[in-house]
Symmetry: C2
Subunit: 151 residues, 2 copies
DNA sequence: TCGAACAAATTAGCCTCACGAACTATTCCG
DNA sequence: CGGAATAGTTCGTGAGGCTAATTTGTTCGA
């Protein structure tokens, strides 16, 4: 139900941020709990970025994922250990390490996109078509927000 | 497989879950980074639940927050230590511990709802009115999703 | 009535995520 | 050549969350 007699003013918008904060925090917890044990949310995010932008240097990946370098070292270490990423060292500048998705990594991502029985998918299927449409639009906005540079 | 591998109709909805998963994971990271250092997202969520439903037993709070009891012990311990919650032991059944928000806790929550310069608020203010409206609607849906019982 | 079963919360030990500070390796440049 | 800069890594810390085991308290039935 979407109508608390709110006039055109931005009354609703005024408490949008706190509501969104809580909703994202709680949903994140839910997603973690129901996540594929082989691939945490952070790993999933990194893997998706590498697929999209790889081969990519670790530094660039850290910027895209918006985490500090040590976090990427650890994350990509796990993904490599799982055979989902492969690392190559730039021979013309051996400080630079690039990672790239492996076939196994791509396959896992693909499976992941098709998970039809995960918590979130089940929930979404129970929504009305209109609600799903609203979330589809919101997802695009949230993706943009998350990707924007700080400041 | 699901009944409908239908054409254009819910094509967008089909990859909604993976997109939402990533968006929530990434946005959550952003929110953590820009969170008030005095109150993590988990603490904020628990505090808000206690305000809404308190006085409440720790077990009930765990169910609402959808975490295991040890997590609530730790969380409420921190909130109590910070003076945001107060605990009372039920004298008719001393196993039962209830927590309740303190004036300081309520004040902190209130301030939190008004944070006008936090990352998320700044970002939201830059969106179009239509985008904010879309997010407002989405926030309501996401809140419901996050609050639903499992299964 | 007292001991066993149950219930609520806590403790202990483990793992991931993420950070800052300090360090290593490499390259660049004056 | 030797210092400064750049890319990554290591180390130690803390939050968040889990399971398994334990403690504390209550209830119930033989």
């Amino acid at each position: 139900m979407a109508a608390d007699s709110s006039p055109a003013r931005n009354t609703a918008a005024e408490d949008l941020a706190p509501r969104l904060r809580l909703a994202v925090a709680r949903l994140h917890r839910r997603l973690r709990q129901s996540a594929d044990p082989n691939l945490t949310l952070s790993q999933l995010s990194a893997l998706a970025s590498v697929e999209r932008d790889g081969p990519i240097t670790l530094g660039a990946l850290a910027r895209i994922e918006q985490v500090q370098p040590p976090t990427i070292t650890a994350l990509s270490g796990k993904l490599e250990a799982a055979g989902l990423l492969e690392r190559t060292i730039d021979e013309s500048d051996r400080r630079i390490h690039r990672v790239e998705i492996t076939p196994a990594g791509a396959k896992l991502l693909e499976q992941h996109r098709k998970r039809k029985n995960a918590y979130l998918d089940r929930r979404l299927r129970r929504l009305t078509e209109a609600d799903r449409a609203a979330l589809t639009r919101a997802a695009a906005i949230l993706e943009r927000l998350a990707a924007e540079d700080p400041q």
